[in-house]
Protein backbone atom coordinates (compact mmCIF):
# COMPACT_ATOMS: atom_id res chain seq x y z
CA UNK A 1 0.00 0.00 0.00
CA UNK A 2 1.54 3.28 -1.07
CA UNK A 3 1.56 6.91 0.05
CA UNK A 4 -1.52 8.87 -0.97
CA UNK A 5 0.22 11.98 -2.26
CA UNK A 6 -0.02 15.56 -1.08
CA UNK A 7 -3.81 15.72 -1.03
CA UNK A 8 -4.17 12.43 0.73
CA UNK A 9 -6.24 10.75 -1.94
CA UNK A 10 -6.69 7.01 -2.22
CA UNK A 11 -8.33 6.79 -5.61
CA UNK A 12 -11.48 8.83 -5.24
CA UNK A 13 -11.43 8.63 -1.45
CA UNK A 14 -9.58 10.40 1.31
CA UNK A 15 -8.64 14.05 1.16
CA UNK A 16 -8.78 16.68 3.82
CA UNK A 17 -12.26 18.08 4.42
CA UNK A 18 -11.59 20.25 7.41
CA UNK A 19 -12.48 23.77 8.47
CA UNK A 20 -9.92 26.28 7.42
CA UNK A 21 -8.95 26.77 11.05
CA UNK A 22 -7.61 23.21 11.16
CA UNK A 23 -5.95 23.22 7.78
CA UNK A 24 -2.60 24.58 8.99
CA UNK A 25 -2.51 21.95 11.73
CA UNK A 26 -3.17 19.20 9.20
CA UNK A 27 -0.47 20.54 6.94
CA UNK A 28 1.94 20.88 9.83
CA UNK A 29 1.16 17.34 10.92
CA UNK A 30 1.65 16.02 7.43
CA UNK A 31 5.08 17.53 7.07
CA UNK A 32 6.06 16.60 10.62
CA UNK A 33 5.03 13.02 9.92
CA UNK A 34 6.87 12.85 6.60
CA UNK A 35 9.93 14.26 8.25
CA UNK A 36 9.79 11.97 11.26
CA UNK A 37 8.94 8.83 9.33
CA UNK A 38 11.92 9.41 7.10
CA UNK A 39 14.21 9.96 10.06
CA UNK A 40 15.89 6.70 11.11
CA UNK A 41 16.34 8.08 14.60
CA UNK A 42 12.61 8.61 14.99
CA UNK A 43 11.59 5.24 13.62
CA UNK A 44 14.20 3.57 15.78
CA UNK A 45 12.78 5.32 18.82
CA UNK A 46 9.26 4.29 17.78
CA UNK A 47 10.33 0.68 17.47
CA UNK A 48 12.22 0.81 20.76
CA UNK A 49 9.20 2.05 22.68
CA UNK A 50 7.04 -0.58 21.01
CA UNK A 51 9.51 -3.26 22.01
CA UNK A 52 10.43 -2.12 25.50
CA UNK A 53 7.10 -0.74 26.59
CA UNK A 54 4.35 -2.27 24.47
CA UNK A 55 5.70 -5.79 24.16
CA UNK A 56 6.31 -6.04 20.44
CA UNK A 57 6.74 -8.15 18.47
CA UNK A 58 3.50 -9.89 19.28
CA UNK A 59 3.63 -13.55 18.23
CA UNK A 60 1.82 -15.39 15.49
CA UNK A 61 0.08 -18.36 17.09
CA UNK A 62 -0.86 -21.44 15.08
CA UNK A 63 -4.44 -22.25 16.06
CA UNK A 64 -4.02 -25.98 15.75
CA UNK A 65 -7.20 -27.25 17.32
CA UNK A 66 -9.45 -24.89 15.46
CA UNK A 67 -7.57 -25.62 12.24
CA UNK A 68 -8.29 -29.29 12.66
CA UNK A 69 -11.95 -28.60 13.34
CA UNK A 70 -12.33 -26.37 10.28
CA UNK A 71 -10.11 -28.18 7.82
CA UNK A 72 -7.99 -25.12 7.20
CA UNK A 73 -4.59 -23.94 8.44
CA UNK A 74 -5.33 -21.07 10.77
CA UNK A 75 -2.89 -18.63 12.37
CA UNK A 76 -3.48 -15.63 14.59
CA UNK A 77 -1.44 -12.46 14.87
CA UNK A 78 -1.69 -11.70 18.56
CA UNK A 79 -2.36 -8.01 18.99
CA UNK A 80 -4.30 -8.98 22.12
CA UNK A 81 -0.91 -9.39 23.77
CA UNK A 82 0.19 -5.83 23.13
CA UNK A 83 0.13 -3.47 26.12
CA UNK A 84 -3.40 -2.25 26.91
CA UNK A 85 -4.82 -5.25 25.07
CA UNK A 86 -5.11 -4.32 21.43
CA UNK A 87 -3.33 -2.97 18.37
CA UNK A 88 -4.40 0.56 19.31
CA UNK A 89 -1.17 1.12 21.22
CA UNK A 90 0.98 0.96 18.05
CA UNK A 91 -0.62 4.02 16.55
CA UNK A 92 -0.75 5.89 19.80
CA UNK A 93 2.92 5.44 20.54
CA UNK A 94 3.78 6.72 17.10
CA UNK A 95 1.55 9.74 17.46
CA UNK A 96 2.63 10.66 20.97
CA UNK A 97 6.27 10.48 19.96
CA UNK A 98 5.39 12.74 17.04
CA UNK A 99 3.58 15.08 19.43
CA UNK A 100 6.74 15.52 21.43
CA UNK A 101 8.77 16.00 18.29
CA UNK A 102 6.39 18.76 17.21
CA UNK A 103 6.96 20.40 20.58
CA UNK A 104 3.36 20.03 21.68
CA UNK A 105 2.51 19.27 25.27
CA UNK A 106 -1.01 18.07 25.08
CA UNK A 107 -2.97 15.34 23.30
CA UNK A 108 -6.67 15.00 22.71
CA UNK A 109 -8.40 11.88 21.47
CA UNK A 110 -11.83 10.45 20.83
CA UNK A 111 -12.85 7.03 22.03
CA UNK A 112 -15.83 4.72 21.66
CA UNK A 113 -15.51 1.71 23.92
CA UNK A 114 -12.47 3.23 25.48
CA UNK A 115 -9.69 1.14 23.95
CA UNK A 116 -8.15 3.98 22.00
CA UNK A 117 -8.72 6.29 24.95
CA UNK A 118 -6.95 3.95 27.34
CA UNK A 119 -4.12 3.46 24.88
CA UNK A 120 -3.74 7.21 24.42
CA UNK A 121 -3.86 7.88 28.15
CA UNK A 122 -1.27 5.15 28.60
CA UNK A 123 1.19 6.55 26.09
CA UNK A 124 0.68 10.07 27.47
CA UNK A 125 1.39 8.88 31.00
CA UNK A 126 4.50 7.14 29.81
CA UNK A 127 5.75 10.23 27.98
CA UNK A 128 4.54 12.86 30.40
CA UNK A 129 1.98 14.49 28.07
CA UNK A 130 -1.30 16.02 29.14
CA UNK A 131 -4.26 14.06 27.84
CA UNK A 132 -7.95 14.75 27.29
CA UNK A 133 -10.26 12.09 25.92
CA UNK A 134 -13.69 12.78 24.41
CA UNK A 135 -16.19 10.02 24.85
CA UNK A 136 -19.89 9.92 24.12
CA UNK A 137 -21.89 10.23 27.30
CA UNK A 138 -23.66 6.95 26.61
CA UNK A 139 -20.31 5.24 26.19
CA UNK A 140 -18.98 6.72 29.44
CA UNK A 141 -21.86 5.01 31.16
CA UNK A 142 -21.56 1.71 29.28
CA UNK A 143 -17.80 1.63 29.78
CA UNK A 144 -17.45 3.19 33.21
CA UNK A 145 -14.45 1.05 34.06
CA UNK A 146 -12.54 2.24 31.04
CA UNK A 147 -13.30 5.81 32.07
CA UNK A 148 -11.82 5.05 35.46
CA UNK A 149 -8.82 3.40 33.83
CA UNK A 150 -8.14 6.53 31.79
CA UNK A 151 -8.45 8.64 34.90
CA UNK A 152 -6.01 6.41 36.75
CA UNK A 153 -3.63 7.06 33.89
CA UNK A 154 -4.03 10.77 34.44
CA UNK A 155 -6.30 11.60 31.53
CA UNK A 156 -9.30 13.90 31.70
CA UNK A 157 -12.35 12.24 30.22
CA UNK A 158 -14.94 14.61 28.76
CA UNK A 159 -18.40 13.12 28.27
CA UNK A 160 -19.87 14.30 24.97
CA UNK A 161 -23.53 15.15 25.29
CA UNK A 162 -24.24 16.18 21.71
CA UNK A 163 -25.88 14.16 18.96
CA UNK A 164 -26.13 10.43 19.50
CA UNK A 165 -23.66 10.73 22.40
CA UNK A 166 -21.47 7.94 20.99
CA UNK A 167 -18.25 7.61 19.00
CA UNK A 168 -19.25 9.68 15.98
CA UNK A 169 -20.08 12.59 18.26
CA UNK A 170 -16.90 12.13 20.22
CA UNK A 171 -14.98 12.65 16.97
CA UNK A 172 -16.99 15.80 16.22
CA UNK A 173 -16.28 17.11 19.67
CA UNK A 174 -12.58 16.32 19.52
CA UNK A 175 -12.41 18.22 16.21
CA UNK A 176 -14.23 21.16 17.78
CA UNK A 177 -11.82 21.15 20.67
CA UNK A 178 -8.86 20.86 18.36
CA UNK A 179 -9.87 24.07 16.60
CA UNK A 180 -9.44 25.93 19.87
CA UNK A 181 -6.01 24.60 20.75
CA UNK A 182 -4.15 23.47 17.64
CA UNK A 183 -1.17 25.51 18.71
CA UNK A 184 -0.07 23.30 21.57
CA UNK A 185 -2.28 20.25 21.14
CA UNK A 186 -2.15 17.22 18.91
CA UNK A 187 -5.29 15.35 18.01
CA UNK A 188 -4.46 11.66 18.25
CA UNK A 189 -7.01 10.02 16.00
CA UNK A 190 -7.61 6.37 16.73
CA UNK A 191 -8.07 4.78 13.36
CA UNK A 192 -7.26 5.12 9.66
CA UNK A 193 -9.84 7.83 9.24
CA UNK A 194 -10.19 11.57 9.41
CA UNK A 195 -8.41 14.11 7.22
CA UNK A 196 -5.10 13.51 5.52
CA UNK A 197 -2.49 12.66 6.83
CA UNK A 198 -4.32 10.60 9.47
CA UNK A 199 -5.50 7.65 7.36
CA UNK A 200 -2.06 7.29 5.88
CA UNK A 201 -0.14 8.01 9.07
CA UNK A 202 -2.18 5.65 11.22
CA UNK A 203 -1.85 2.92 8.59
CA UNK A 204 1.90 3.40 8.54
CA UNK A 205 2.03 3.25 12.33
CA UNK A 206 -0.01 0.05 12.28
CA UNK A 207 1.88 -1.51 9.38
CA UNK A 208 4.29 -3.03 11.87
CA UNK A 209 1.59 -5.66 12.43
CA UNK A 210 1.73 -6.81 8.84
CA UNK A 211 5.46 -6.56 8.50
CA UNK A 212 6.03 -8.64 11.59
CA UNK A 213 3.41 -11.16 10.55
CA UNK A 214 4.87 -11.64 7.08
CA UNK A 215 8.23 -12.51 8.60
CA UNK A 216 6.71 -14.64 11.34
CA UNK A 217 4.61 -16.70 8.94
CA UNK A 218 7.79 -17.37 7.08
CA UNK A 219 9.58 -18.34 10.30
CA UNK A 220 6.76 -20.77 11.01
CA UNK A 221 7.36 -22.31 7.63
CA UNK A 222 3.92 -21.17 6.59
CA UNK A 223 4.92 -18.38 4.17
CA UNK A 224 2.17 -16.48 2.34
CA UNK A 225 -1.37 -17.12 3.57
CA UNK A 226 -4.27 -17.52 1.17
CA UNK A 227 -6.41 -15.22 3.28
CA UNK A 228 -5.63 -12.39 5.65
CA UNK A 229 -8.70 -11.57 7.73
CA UNK A 230 -9.29 -8.63 10.06
CA UNK A 231 -12.24 -6.88 11.59
CA UNK A 232 -12.95 -3.34 10.45
CA UNK A 233 -14.27 -0.46 12.50
CA UNK A 234 -12.37 2.52 11.17
CA UNK A 235 -10.00 -0.04 9.74
CA UNK A 236 -6.68 0.46 11.49
CA UNK A 237 -5.93 -3.09 12.51
CA UNK A 238 -6.98 -4.30 9.08
CA UNK A 239 -4.83 -1.68 7.37
CA UNK A 240 -1.94 -2.65 9.61
CA UNK A 241 -1.99 -6.31 8.75
CA UNK A 242 -2.94 -5.77 5.09
CA UNK A 243 0.19 -3.64 4.74
CA UNK A 244 2.35 -6.71 5.05
CA UNK A 245 0.46 -8.69 2.46
CA UNK A 246 -0.83 -6.21 -0.10
CA UNK A 247 2.00 -7.12 -2.45
CA UNK A 248 1.40 -10.85 -2.09
CA UNK A 249 -1.17 -13.18 -3.53
CA UNK A 250 -3.14 -13.23 -0.27
CA UNK A 251 -6.82 -12.35 -0.42
CA UNK A 252 -7.39 -9.49 2.00
CA UNK A 253 -10.67 -9.69 3.88
CA UNK A 254 -12.14 -7.01 6.11
CA UNK A 255 -15.07 -7.94 8.31
CA UNK A 256 -17.47 -5.21 9.35
CA UNK A 257 -20.26 -5.34 11.87
CA UNK A 258 -23.55 -5.64 10.00
CA UNK A 259 -24.83 -2.64 11.95
CA UNK A 260 -21.84 -0.53 11.00
CA UNK A 261 -21.19 -1.78 7.52
CA UNK A 262 -19.92 1.19 5.55
CA UNK A 263 -18.84 -0.90 2.58
CA UNK A 264 -21.90 -3.12 2.56
CA UNK A 265 -24.56 -0.52 3.22
CA UNK A 266 -22.80 2.77 2.69
CA UNK A 267 -22.26 5.17 -0.15
CA UNK A 268 -19.61 7.80 -0.82
CA UNK A 269 -19.81 10.78 1.44
CA UNK A 270 -17.81 13.28 3.43
CA UNK A 271 -17.50 13.13 7.19
CA UNK A 272 -14.85 13.78 9.78
CA UNK A 273 -12.50 15.27 7.26
CA UNK A 274 -12.52 12.49 4.72
CA UNK A 275 -14.36 11.32 1.66
CA UNK A 276 -15.18 7.68 2.14
CA UNK A 277 -18.01 5.21 2.30
CA UNK A 278 -20.57 6.17 4.91
CA UNK A 279 -23.87 4.94 6.19
CA UNK A 280 -26.25 7.81 5.47
CA UNK A 281 -29.87 8.43 4.72
CA UNK A 282 -31.33 9.69 1.46
CA UNK A 283 -30.50 13.28 2.35
CA UNK A 284 -26.90 12.67 3.36
CA UNK A 285 -27.54 12.68 7.08
CA UNK A 286 -25.15 10.29 8.77
CA UNK A 287 -26.79 7.27 10.30
CA UNK A 288 -25.93 5.93 13.69
CA UNK A 289 -24.10 2.65 13.61
CA UNK A 290 -25.18 -0.09 15.92
CA UNK A 291 -23.07 -3.05 16.85
CA UNK A 292 -22.66 -5.36 19.80
CA UNK A 293 -19.04 -4.26 19.80
CA UNK A 294 -18.48 -0.62 20.59
CA UNK A 295 -15.26 -0.58 18.59
CA UNK A 296 -17.10 -1.31 15.32
CA UNK A 297 -19.87 1.14 16.09
CA UNK A 298 -18.86 3.64 13.43
CA UNK A 299 -20.86 4.60 10.36
CA UNK A 300 -17.80 5.09 8.16
CA UNK A 301 -14.65 3.32 7.16
CA UNK A 302 -11.15 4.56 6.46
CA UNK A 303 -10.80 5.98 2.94
CA UNK A 304 -8.07 3.58 1.91
CA UNK A 305 -10.40 0.68 2.62
CA UNK A 306 -13.07 2.33 0.49
CA UNK A 307 -10.47 2.47 -2.23
CA UNK A 308 -9.29 -1.11 -1.75
CA UNK A 309 -12.90 -2.24 -1.98
CA UNK A 310 -13.38 -0.09 -5.06
CA UNK A 311 -10.44 -1.56 -6.94
CA UNK A 312 -11.15 -5.05 -5.66
CA UNK A 313 -7.84 -5.53 -3.87
CA UNK A 314 -9.63 -6.20 -0.60
CA UNK A 315 -13.04 -7.70 0.08
CA UNK A 316 -15.38 -6.65 2.84
CA UNK A 317 -18.06 -8.74 4.44
CA UNK A 318 -20.47 -8.07 7.26
CA UNK A 319 -21.21 -10.23 10.28
CA UNK A 320 -24.31 -9.82 12.41
CA UNK A 321 -24.33 -9.64 16.18
CA UNK A 322 -25.85 -13.11 16.41
CA UNK A 323 -22.77 -14.83 15.06
CA UNK A 324 -20.33 -12.89 17.19
CA UNK A 325 -20.89 -14.37 20.62
CA UNK A 326 -20.70 -17.90 19.25
CA UNK A 327 -17.40 -17.11 17.56
CA UNK A 328 -16.03 -15.70 20.78
CA UNK A 329 -17.02 -18.89 22.54
CA UNK A 330 -15.48 -21.13 19.91
CA UNK A 331 -12.12 -19.37 19.97
CA UNK A 332 -12.07 -19.35 23.78
CA UNK A 333 -12.91 -23.02 24.04
CA UNK A 334 -10.71 -24.30 21.26
CA UNK A 335 -7.64 -22.16 21.66
CA UNK A 336 -7.64 -20.56 25.09
CA UNK A 337 -7.89 -17.04 23.72
CA UNK A 338 -10.89 -14.88 24.57
CA UNK A 339 -11.01 -12.33 21.77
CA UNK A 340 -12.47 -8.85 21.82
CA UNK A 341 -15.99 -8.66 20.40
CA UNK A 342 -14.54 -6.65 17.53
CA UNK A 343 -12.09 -9.42 16.71
CA UNK A 344 -14.83 -12.02 17.11
CA UNK A 345 -16.40 -10.63 13.92
CA UNK A 346 -13.37 -11.74 11.95
CA UNK A 347 -13.42 -15.10 13.71
CA UNK A 348 -17.10 -15.50 12.90
CA UNK A 349 -16.47 -14.89 9.23
CA UNK A 350 -13.79 -17.57 9.17
CA UNK A 351 -16.01 -20.06 11.01
CA UNK A 352 -18.81 -19.35 8.57
CA UNK A 353 -16.82 -19.47 5.39
CA UNK A 354 -14.38 -22.31 6.05
CA UNK A 355 -15.21 -24.84 3.34
CA UNK A 356 -17.20 -22.23 1.40
CA UNK A 357 -15.59 -18.93 0.50
CA UNK A 358 -12.43 -20.27 2.14
CA UNK A 359 -11.57 -23.53 0.37
CA UNK A 360 -10.64 -26.42 2.65
CA UNK A 361 -6.91 -26.62 3.12
CA UNK A 362 -6.45 -22.87 2.80
CA UNK A 363 -3.94 -21.07 4.94
CA UNK A 364 -5.64 -18.25 6.83
CA UNK A 365 -4.09 -15.50 8.95
CA UNK A 366 -6.45 -13.86 11.42
CA UNK A 367 -5.54 -10.53 12.93
CA UNK A 368 -6.43 -11.04 16.56
CA UNK A 369 -6.82 -7.34 17.15
CA UNK A 370 -7.62 -7.38 20.85
CA UNK A 371 -8.43 -9.31 23.95
CA UNK A 372 -11.91 -9.83 25.28
CA UNK A 373 -11.37 -8.94 28.93
CA UNK A 374 -13.14 -5.64 28.37
CA UNK A 375 -16.13 -7.52 26.99
CA UNK A 376 -16.70 -10.45 29.33
CA UNK A 377 -19.21 -8.67 31.54
CA UNK A 378 -21.27 -7.79 28.48
CA UNK A 379 -21.00 -11.29 27.03
CA UNK A 380 -22.08 -12.74 30.33
CA UNK A 381 -25.17 -10.57 30.38
CA UNK A 382 -26.03 -11.54 26.82
CA UNK A 383 -25.60 -15.25 27.41
CA UNK A 384 -27.67 -15.02 30.58
CA UNK A 385 -30.37 -13.25 28.68
CA UNK A 386 -30.41 -16.08 26.14
CA UNK A 387 -31.00 -18.75 28.75
Amino acid sequence: MSAPGALGHFGEFGGRFVPEALMPACLELESAFIDAWGDPEFTAQYRTVLREFAGRPTPVTPLRRLSAQLGIELFAKREDLAHTGSHKINNVIGQTLLTKRMGKQRVIAETGAGQHGVATATACAQMGLECTVFMGEIDTERQALNVFRMELLGATVVPVTSGSRTLKDAVNEAMREWVTCVEDTHYCLGSVMGPHPFPWMVREMQSIIGHEALQQMDDLGASIPDFVVACVGGGSNAAGIFSGFANTSARLVGVEAAGGSAVGKGSPGVLHGMRSLLMQDEFGQIEEAYSISAGLDYPGIGPEHAHLADIGRAEYYAIGDDDVIGALEVLSLSEGIIPALETAHAVAWILKEAGREIPLGSRVLLNLSGRGDKDVAQVREILRGQQ
Binding site: F17, V18, P19, E20, P24, G163, N172, V179, V270, G284
Partner: protein, 255 residues
Protein backbone atom coordinates in the same frame (compact mmCIF):
# COMPACT_ATOMS: atom_id res chain seq x y z
CA UNK B 1 -18.79 38.50 -10.84
CA UNK B 2 -21.60 36.70 -9.07
CA UNK B 3 -24.79 38.56 -8.39
CA UNK B 4 -24.20 38.21 -4.67
CA UNK B 5 -20.79 39.80 -4.80
CA UNK B 6 -21.99 42.57 -7.01
CA UNK B 7 -24.77 43.28 -4.56
CA UNK B 8 -22.51 43.21 -1.55
CA UNK B 9 -19.90 45.41 -3.19
CA UNK B 10 -22.60 47.94 -3.93
CA UNK B 11 -23.75 47.73 -0.36
CA UNK B 12 -20.25 48.46 0.83
CA UNK B 13 -19.89 51.28 -1.65
CA UNK B 14 -23.02 52.79 -0.15
CA UNK B 15 -21.21 53.07 3.16
CA UNK B 16 -23.51 50.66 4.97
CA UNK B 17 -22.13 47.86 7.10
CA UNK B 18 -23.67 44.50 6.34
CA UNK B 19 -25.63 42.68 9.01
CA UNK B 20 -26.03 38.98 8.27
CA UNK B 21 -28.13 36.99 10.72
CA UNK B 22 -28.10 33.18 10.65
CA UNK B 23 -31.10 30.91 11.01
CA UNK B 24 -31.43 27.16 11.06
CA UNK B 25 -33.91 26.19 8.38
CA UNK B 26 -36.80 24.13 9.68
CA UNK B 27 -36.01 24.75 13.33
CA UNK B 28 -39.60 25.82 13.93
CA UNK B 29 -42.58 25.50 11.59
CA UNK B 30 -42.61 29.29 11.23
CA UNK B 31 -38.90 29.74 10.68
CA UNK B 32 -39.61 31.73 7.51
CA UNK B 33 -41.22 34.45 9.65
CA UNK B 34 -37.96 34.76 11.60
CA UNK B 35 -36.12 35.44 8.38
CA UNK B 36 -38.69 38.02 7.40
CA UNK B 37 -38.52 39.67 10.81
CA UNK B 38 -34.75 39.91 10.56
CA UNK B 39 -34.96 41.55 7.17
CA UNK B 40 -37.55 43.89 8.52
CA UNK B 41 -35.17 44.87 11.29
CA UNK B 42 -32.44 45.70 8.85
CA UNK B 43 -30.59 42.53 7.87
CA UNK B 44 -28.67 42.95 4.62
CA UNK B 45 -28.47 39.28 3.82
CA UNK B 46 -29.52 36.09 5.61
CA UNK B 47 -27.63 32.87 6.20
CA UNK B 48 -29.89 29.85 5.88
CA UNK B 49 -28.40 26.97 7.82
CA UNK B 50 -29.24 23.62 6.27
CA UNK B 51 -29.15 21.20 9.17
CA UNK B 52 -26.59 18.36 9.15
CA UNK B 53 -26.33 15.48 11.57
CA UNK B 54 -22.66 16.11 12.32
CA UNK B 55 -21.98 19.84 12.40
CA UNK B 56 -18.29 19.78 13.15
CA UNK B 57 -17.80 23.55 13.17
CA UNK B 58 -20.78 24.34 15.36
CA UNK B 59 -21.16 24.71 19.08
CA UNK B 60 -23.88 23.23 21.23
CA UNK B 61 -26.57 25.74 20.29
CA UNK B 62 -26.49 25.19 16.57
CA UNK B 63 -25.96 21.45 17.05
CA UNK B 64 -29.12 21.22 19.04
CA UNK B 65 -31.03 23.36 16.59
CA UNK B 66 -29.84 21.22 13.70
CA UNK B 67 -30.94 18.01 15.36
CA UNK B 68 -34.31 19.53 16.19
CA UNK B 69 -34.78 20.63 12.61
CA UNK B 70 -33.77 17.21 11.35
CA UNK B 71 -36.17 15.53 13.72
CA UNK B 72 -38.88 17.74 12.20
CA UNK B 73 -38.04 16.28 8.80
CA UNK B 74 -36.07 19.17 7.33
CA UNK B 75 -34.06 18.55 4.18
CA UNK B 76 -32.89 20.39 1.11
CA UNK B 77 -36.16 19.83 -0.69
CA UNK B 78 -38.34 20.86 2.22
CA UNK B 79 -36.29 24.00 2.67
CA UNK B 80 -36.62 24.88 -1.01
CA UNK B 81 -40.34 24.46 -0.75
CA UNK B 82 -40.52 26.55 2.45
CA UNK B 83 -38.56 29.29 0.71
CA UNK B 84 -41.20 29.68 -1.99
CA UNK B 85 -43.30 31.34 0.71
CA UNK B 86 -40.55 33.83 1.49
CA UNK B 87 -40.43 37.14 -0.28
CA UNK B 88 -37.60 39.36 0.89
CA UNK B 89 -35.41 41.76 -0.95
CA UNK B 90 -32.04 40.67 0.51
CA UNK B 91 -29.77 37.86 -0.65
CA UNK B 92 -29.97 34.43 0.93
CA UNK B 93 -26.84 32.44 1.58
CA UNK B 94 -26.90 28.74 2.36
CA UNK B 95 -24.63 27.40 5.07
CA UNK B 96 -24.11 23.69 5.59
CA UNK B 97 -21.60 20.83 5.52
CA UNK B 98 -20.35 19.37 2.32
CA UNK B 99 -21.94 15.95 2.64
CA UNK B 100 -25.39 17.48 2.10
CA UNK B 101 -24.43 18.77 -1.33
CA UNK B 102 -22.13 15.85 -2.11
CA UNK B 103 -24.89 13.40 -1.49
CA UNK B 104 -27.44 15.43 -3.39
CA UNK B 105 -25.01 15.72 -6.28
CA UNK B 106 -23.04 18.92 -6.58
CA UNK B 107 -24.49 20.04 -9.89
CA UNK B 108 -28.00 19.27 -8.80
CA UNK B 109 -27.46 20.92 -5.42
CA UNK B 110 -26.10 24.15 -6.87
CA UNK B 111 -29.06 24.23 -9.23
CA UNK B 112 -31.45 23.64 -6.38
CA UNK B 113 -30.00 26.52 -4.40
CA UNK B 114 -30.27 28.82 -7.36
CA UNK B 115 -33.88 27.94 -8.14
CA UNK B 116 -34.68 28.44 -4.46
CA UNK B 117 -33.42 32.00 -4.63
CA UNK B 118 -30.21 31.33 -2.79
CA UNK B 119 -27.23 33.13 -4.26
CA UNK B 120 -24.40 32.11 -2.00
CA UNK B 121 -23.14 29.06 -0.12
CA UNK B 122 -20.84 28.58 2.84
CA UNK B 123 -19.45 25.06 3.31
CA UNK B 124 -16.99 25.23 6.20
CA UNK B 125 -15.62 21.71 5.80
CA UNK B 126 -14.88 22.10 2.11
CA UNK B 127 -11.40 23.51 1.72
CA UNK B 128 -9.85 25.05 -1.32
CA UNK B 129 -8.07 21.85 -2.31
CA UNK B 130 -11.22 19.77 -2.45
CA UNK B 131 -13.66 22.37 -3.65
CA UNK B 132 -13.04 22.63 -7.39
CA UNK B 133 -16.04 20.62 -8.49
CA UNK B 134 -18.38 22.47 -6.17
CA UNK B 135 -16.98 25.87 -7.06
CA UNK B 136 -17.48 25.14 -10.74
CA UNK B 137 -21.03 23.94 -10.27
CA UNK B 138 -21.85 27.01 -8.22
CA UNK B 139 -20.32 29.27 -10.83
CA UNK B 140 -22.57 27.72 -13.44
CA UNK B 141 -25.59 28.58 -11.30
CA UNK B 142 -24.48 32.01 -10.10
CA UNK B 143 -24.14 30.80 -6.53
CA UNK B 144 -21.29 32.58 -4.78
CA UNK B 145 -18.89 30.33 -2.89
CA UNK B 146 -18.12 32.14 0.32
CA UNK B 147 -14.92 30.85 1.90
CA UNK B 148 -13.58 31.20 5.42
CA UNK B 149 -10.27 32.53 6.62
CA UNK B 150 -9.19 31.63 10.16
CA UNK B 151 -6.77 33.32 12.53
CA UNK B 152 -4.46 30.38 11.87
CA UNK B 153 -4.50 30.75 8.08
CA UNK B 154 -1.05 31.75 6.82
CA UNK B 155 -0.76 34.66 4.32
CA UNK B 156 -0.09 32.50 1.22
CA UNK B 157 -3.22 30.55 1.90
CA UNK B 158 -5.23 33.74 2.44
CA UNK B 159 -4.36 34.82 -1.11
CA UNK B 160 -5.33 31.50 -2.59
CA UNK B 161 -8.58 31.46 -0.67
CA UNK B 162 -9.49 34.96 -1.69
CA UNK B 163 -8.91 34.05 -5.29
CA UNK B 164 -11.54 31.30 -5.14
CA UNK B 165 -13.83 33.18 -2.83
CA UNK B 166 -17.00 34.77 -4.18
CA UNK B 167 -19.62 37.02 -2.60
CA UNK B 168 -17.77 37.93 0.54
CA UNK B 169 -14.96 36.50 2.56
CA UNK B 170 -15.84 35.07 5.96
CA UNK B 171 -13.28 36.13 8.57
CA UNK B 172 -13.60 33.85 11.56
CA UNK B 173 -12.98 35.92 14.64
CA UNK B 174 -11.52 33.20 16.72
CA UNK B 175 -10.16 29.66 16.84
CA UNK B 176 -13.40 28.22 18.03
CA UNK B 177 -16.66 26.79 16.83
CA UNK B 178 -19.85 28.82 16.72
CA UNK B 179 -21.26 29.95 20.04
CA UNK B 180 -20.85 32.41 22.84
CA UNK B 181 -17.52 34.14 23.33
CA UNK B 182 -16.67 37.03 25.56
CA UNK B 183 -13.28 38.16 24.36
CA UNK B 184 -12.70 40.52 21.48
CA UNK B 185 -11.37 37.84 19.20
CA UNK B 186 -8.86 38.18 16.41
CA UNK B 187 -11.30 39.38 13.75
CA UNK B 188 -9.51 42.63 13.07
CA UNK B 189 -6.28 40.79 12.47
CA UNK B 190 -7.89 38.33 10.08
CA UNK B 191 -9.62 41.14 8.19
CA UNK B 192 -6.29 42.89 7.78
CA UNK B 193 -4.77 39.81 6.17
CA UNK B 194 -7.68 39.43 3.81
CA UNK B 195 -7.55 43.09 2.83
CA UNK B 196 -3.89 42.65 1.97
CA UNK B 197 -4.83 39.93 -0.49
CA UNK B 198 -8.11 41.08 -1.99
CA UNK B 199 -10.71 43.81 -2.09
CA UNK B 200 -13.64 41.42 -1.71
CA UNK B 201 -16.07 42.40 1.06
CA UNK B 202 -15.07 40.89 4.40
CA UNK B 203 -17.50 39.98 7.15
CA UNK B 204 -16.58 38.81 10.61
CA UNK B 205 -18.36 35.90 12.23
CA UNK B 206 -18.01 33.25 14.98
CA UNK B 207 -18.79 34.37 18.47
CA UNK B 208 -20.44 37.75 17.76
CA UNK B 209 -23.05 37.75 20.48
CA UNK B 210 -23.46 41.35 21.58
CA UNK B 211 -24.24 44.55 19.65
CA UNK B 212 -21.05 46.01 21.10
CA UNK B 213 -18.98 43.18 19.60
CA UNK B 214 -20.72 43.74 16.28
CA UNK B 215 -19.93 47.40 16.46
CA UNK B 216 -16.27 46.73 17.16
CA UNK B 217 -16.06 44.18 14.36
CA UNK B 218 -17.47 46.65 11.87
CA UNK B 219 -14.74 49.16 12.60
CA UNK B 220 -12.50 46.95 10.45
CA UNK B 221 -14.82 44.66 8.54
CA UNK B 222 -17.58 45.32 6.05
CA UNK B 223 -20.13 43.44 8.07
CA UNK B 224 -20.88 40.88 10.72
CA UNK B 225 -22.58 37.52 10.96
CA UNK B 226 -24.70 36.83 14.01
CA UNK B 227 -25.74 33.22 14.56
CA UNK B 228 -25.86 31.34 17.83
CA UNK B 229 -27.39 34.21 19.78
CA UNK B 230 -30.48 34.25 17.57
CA UNK B 231 -30.68 30.49 17.29
CA UNK B 232 -30.49 30.16 21.05
CA UNK B 233 -33.32 32.65 21.46
CA UNK B 234 -35.44 30.71 18.99
CA UNK B 235 -34.64 27.43 20.72
CA UNK B 236 -35.84 29.11 23.90
CA UNK B 237 -39.11 30.12 22.21
CA UNK B 238 -38.46 33.59 20.81
CA UNK B 239 -41.19 34.90 18.52
CA UNK B 240 -40.67 36.67 15.21
CA UNK B 241 -41.04 39.99 16.94
CA UNK B 242 -38.43 39.01 19.54
CA UNK B 243 -36.12 38.22 16.65
CA UNK B 244 -36.93 41.52 15.02
CA UNK B 245 -36.04 43.37 18.17
CA UNK B 246 -32.72 41.56 18.60
CA UNK B 247 -31.68 42.17 15.01
CA UNK B 248 -32.72 45.75 15.38
CA UNK B 249 -30.32 46.21 18.27
CA UNK B 250 -27.47 44.92 16.15
CA UNK B 251 -28.55 47.19 13.30
CA UNK B 252 -28.38 50.18 15.56
CA UNK B 253 -25.03 49.20 16.95
CA UNK B 254 -23.32 48.96 13.59
CA UNK B 255 -24.92 51.92 11.90
Amino acid sequence: MTSLEKHLRELRASGRKALVPYFVAGLTPDWITHVEAAVHAGADAVEIGIPFSDPMMDGVVIQEAALRALDAGTNLDSIASDLTALSVSVPLIAMTYFNIFHHYGVERAAGKLATSGITGAIVPDLPLEEGREWFDACARHDVATVLLVAPSTPPERVSAICEACRGFCYATARMAVTGRSTDAGEGAHVVERIRAASDIPVYIGIGITTPAQAHDACTTSDGVIVGSLLVKAILDGASASDVEQMVHQFRQAID
